[in-house]
Amino acid sequence: MSRLVGRLVRLYPRAWRGRYEEEFLAMLEQGRWSIRDLFDVALGVVDAWLRPQVVYEGRLVMVSRIRGSVLAVLWAWAGMVVAGVGFRKLTEYDDFVRAARDNMLVGVAFDAVIVGAVVALAAVTVGGAPVSFAALRKAFAEGRKDVPLLLCMPPLIGAGFVGYVLVLVKVIYPAVGSVSVHGTVNVALFLSLVGAFVLAALASAWAVTAAVRRVEVEARALRFALYPAAIAAAAMAVVLVGTTVWGLGLLAQAPALFSGDGGILATPTYATWLVIVVVMAVSTVVAVVASIRGLRAGNVGHASSRL
């Protein structure tokens, strides 16, 4: 009877045998088995075919690679947002607004940055929503509370940042009275605002990453997110090119403005611009590489799932 039970193991699906056959046979060699056990193994075979529980190792790697790519694009986007806010701050002064209005190249480059930023935000939202929803659904199915809490963090952090801005404007600045633009107090408060924003961006990206990594998000949602992620990466490239052209255009059309101290905290304009371009370039490279890697993994996984 034991030999017969052992032979039934061959009827299990290949994936199941690849994962459990050796230890299953080792277990069977340890005991004596009855006809009841024979039927039990037969039922196990039927169950393994009808409801396969074994995940192919290759598929696991594929899902893990797609998830890593999608999350890398999210982090790259967070870096781009920080640099983009820096660019917005740099260009808010009247001199730069005038330069964008008077010089077509500078104006078009500035508009391209805005369009790229809006498209990237939309793409991240479109790709992130199904992944977050899938993570939430899985978390509720498993009775986990940590994942919903983590996914609540970005809006809460955003609200906290807005609250801090309101406290700065409505409470702290009125309390300290008039301050010079580049005085110690104003610089310290500005740096605290920048620090809070960077921390908020990092904490939000971390919270989403932790949530998506803690549950087994459906491969379908992750694979779908690859396309908006690729669009976000392309939009980030547009933002990078726009920012670069904006600076070079300014250098050609208004060199005095470019070499002046119109940068953030009265730093040289070109220095602020250069730092922003470097951060944007790193973010864009990360996003583009991650997107290509993810799309390749997605295509391989899609092809193998049809076999």
Binding site: W16, E23, A26, M27, L28, D40, V41, Q53, A141
Partner: protein, 105 residues
């Protein structure tokens, strides 16, 4: 850890027995069978046992331990310990209500 939550179907009880068995330390399949028979009074068949192990492993509630032998031991993961604790508390509550009602019947 309701049945619907884990989608364990007819493997719900064997899976619970496996988790309880592994709560006492890592074990390979045959040792689990013996332990379950001793503690629960019913021995799961080999097919049922491995059906439950595959489901629990898929859900990250148990994990294999590296071993040189062909017999592969398993242990509870942190998620498995937490799910088992939750399920046993549910059963404890159910037992308390049921026994209370029987006492007053």
């Amino acid at each position: 850890m309701g049945d619907e939550d884990l989608g364990l179907g007819r493997f719900s009880d064997p899976a619970l027995f496996v988790l309880v068995s592994l709560a006492g330390g890592e074990k390979h399949g045959y040792a689990m069978m013996e332990d379950i028979e001793e503690t629960c009074g019913a021995r799961p068949g080999p097919g049922t046992l491995y059906g439950a192990i595959a489901r629990l492993e898929r859900r990250g509630l148990v994990e294999p331990v590296a071993s040189e032998e062909r017999r592969r031991p398993y242990r509870l993961t942190a998620a498995g310990a937490s799910a088992l604790r939750r399920r046993l508390r549910e059963l404890q509550g159910l037992a308390h209500v049921g026994l209370g009602r029987l006492a007053t019947a």
